[in-house]
């Protein structure tokens, strides 16, 4: 899949901007065009956080997306706000740990992952965001998992390189959880 217009939304502190940055960086490593746009503001941990990522083979026009074809919603207010805006056929990745209702729309490809539980199973609650990114890439392989792994390796400084592995494991778990809900989805592999 060559292009994606993604909105990631939830609480500040859930790693939303980081998730978006790693996806954007992965796209760039593949030679694609990509934009990363934070909903910047007087935000703080616990406030709302939104990040828009556009990936394309051609130069990107608008970094602003009104009608996303992919969504990651990490809490209930984000589900309520963004579900109605998704394009028909969009993929909706739901953080089931924080979203206590099913989607209302029937025209979306929905994957619900208990990201907190998956991350707890790894003894690393901070990687719930990577679980959800893995789920997204299982449903919409806009970049290869290997590219996200390279983006992570490029992000962490030498004394924190050990964090790459746990993040990649979280990606894989998320992808596997999504694959179980997506019969047609290719099983995710990480080099």
């Amino acid at each position: 899949m060559a292009s994606m217009e993604l909105i990631i939304a939830g609480f500040g502190g859930q790693g939303i901007l980081f998730l978006g940055e790693m996806l954007t960086q992965a796209a760039i490593l593949e030679g694609k065009h990509a934009t990363w746009m934070p909903a910047y503001g007087p935000e703080q941990r616990g406030g709302t956080a939104t990040c828009t990522v556009v990936i394309a083979e051609e130069p990107i026009g608008s970094p602003v997306v009104a009608d996303p074809d992919a969504l990651i919603v990490m809490n209930r207010p984000s589900m309520d706000k963004f579900e109605p805006r998704a394009r028909a056929g969009a993929v909706l990745i739901v953080n089931a740990s924080m979203v206590d209702r099913p989607p209302e729309r029937a025209d979306l490809v929905v994957v619900a992952v208990d990201a907190a539980a998956e991350a707890r199973a790894l003894d690393k609650p901070q990687v719930a965001n990577m679980v959800l990114l893995g789920a997204l890439l299982a449903a919409r392989p806009v970049v290869a998992m290997e590219s996200v792994a390279r983006a992570l390796a490029g992000h962490f400084p030498p004394d924190r390189q050990h964090l790459v592995e746990i993040n990649v494991t979280a990606l894989t778990r998320g992808a596997a959880a999504a694959a179980r809900q997506l019969p047609g989805a290719a099983s995710a592999r990480v080099a």
Binding site: M37, G41, I60, P63
Partner: protein, 358 residues
């Protein structure tokens, strides 16, 4: 020179502007923090001293622009950056710099106004940037990047143009372009070899007396000075730059600059997908304004839609260029609200149905 896409680095617009300025050989940066451009100061504080330049956080924007004035007068390649309310504070100093004919680069990462407004993106400082440089009859050269790559490229160009015309060059951008990230490739090396200009007040003591000033008490002398400045602004018109996107067979054109132009570009693509022959006319310089490009478009299309994050500022320049030859309509969002591609598409369709009904 083509750069492989994979050689690009992912950067915020603010960071890319700062890095481009360092590569342009900026020798001194003076500024005062304000959202949404504080990353420029932050980047300069971290990296400019490594390159032998001076970073100084001033006590206010008024102080910062006067430090720019002083350093420019001493012949240094110099810049400041701020956001809308800060530009208002800098108007007096800017006027002195224009009157004294000194080169400098000023970055305005526009936010919502008037007053303290908010920290969301805006284009409501267009009049302030393009119609004057503070009080008096002065002008800024004004460059309006649409992507992070262009923000870097136009920052480099701004230093060249400032030197060439001994005039402030402003990069006029917005909060989203400052805060968003996109891959960017930097041109290598400083753009122009930088020597201390012959007119600079270096305090050397052994040369001819040099005076940098903007005071001309005799009206005839000040008029002559103004005539020289006006002649310079006429020469600056050759620096006009614009981009035409899908304009060759367009029956309707969108005119927009900066962030709004790339939003409009997506709307134009969507219009084309629906069989509407839409095009985009994008000013890259907003002073000098691409009057001829607008006039040429007016002879071709059935209508022009101008889109801005303002109540309608650039649209006045579009109308002046078009001179009534084709309808010019306006769509704007205010106060930090950003227009979306579907909104712009709806306005394109509305304009089209309006001109068809005529």
């Amino acid at each position: 020179m083509a750069t492989a896409l994979t050689d690009r680095v992912l950067m915020k617009g603010n960071e890319a502007i700062a890095e481009a300025a360092i590569r342009a050989g900026v020798q001194a940066y003076f500024g005062y923090p304000i959202t949404p451009q504080s990353e420029i100061s932050e980047y300069m504080a971290a990296h400019l001293p490594e390159h032998g330049g001076a970073f100084l956080q001033a006590e206010s924007e008024v102080a910062a622009i006067n430090m720019v004035y002083g350093a420019a007068g001493a012949g240094a390649r110099v810049m400041t950056s701020t956001s809308s309310p800060g530009i208002s504070l800098m108007q007096e100093g800017l006027s002195y710099i224009v009157g004294s004919e000194l080169p400098c680069v000023i970055i305005n990462v526009m936010r919502g106004g008037p007053g303290l407004g908010n920290i969301a993106p805006s284009q409501a400082d267009y009049f302030q940037a393009t119609k004057s440089a503070g009080h008096g009859d002065g002008r800024n050269l004004v460059l309006a990047p649409s992507t992070i790559q262009e923000a870097a490229d136009l920052t480099l160009l701004a230093f060249d143009l400032a030197d060439r015309y001994r005039n402030p060059a402003m990069v006029l951008t917005d909060g989203i372009t400052g805060q968003m990230m996109e891959p960017v490739a930097f041109r290598e090396g400083p753009s122009l070899p930088r020597e201390v200009p012959a007119w600079a007040t270096t305090g050397a003591g052994d040369g001819p007396v040099r005076l940098i000033n903007s005071i001309y008490l005799e009206p005839e002398a000040l008029e002559a000075h103004n005539q020289r400045l006006q002649e310079k602004y006429r020469r600056m018109q050759v620096e006009v730059r614009s981009e035409a996107y899908l304009m060759d067979d367009a029956v309707v054109a969108v005119a927009a600059y900066g962030l709004t132009a790339r939003i409009a570009r997506t709307a134009v693509d969507r219009a084309r997908a629906k069989g509407i022959r839409a095009g985009l006319l994008r000013p890259i310089t907003v002073y000098p304004f691409p009057t001829q490009a607008c006039a040429d478009a007016a002879g071709q299309v059935a209508g022009i839609l101008t889109v801005e994050m303002s109540a309608g500022q650039m649209v006045e320049d579009v109308r002046l260029a078009v001179e009534g030859r084709t309808p010019v309509r306006f769509y704007g969002r205010l106060g930090g609200v950003v227009p979306t591609p579907p909104e712009v598409l709806a306005q394109i369709e509305r304009l089209l149905s309006e001109v068809k009904a005529r």
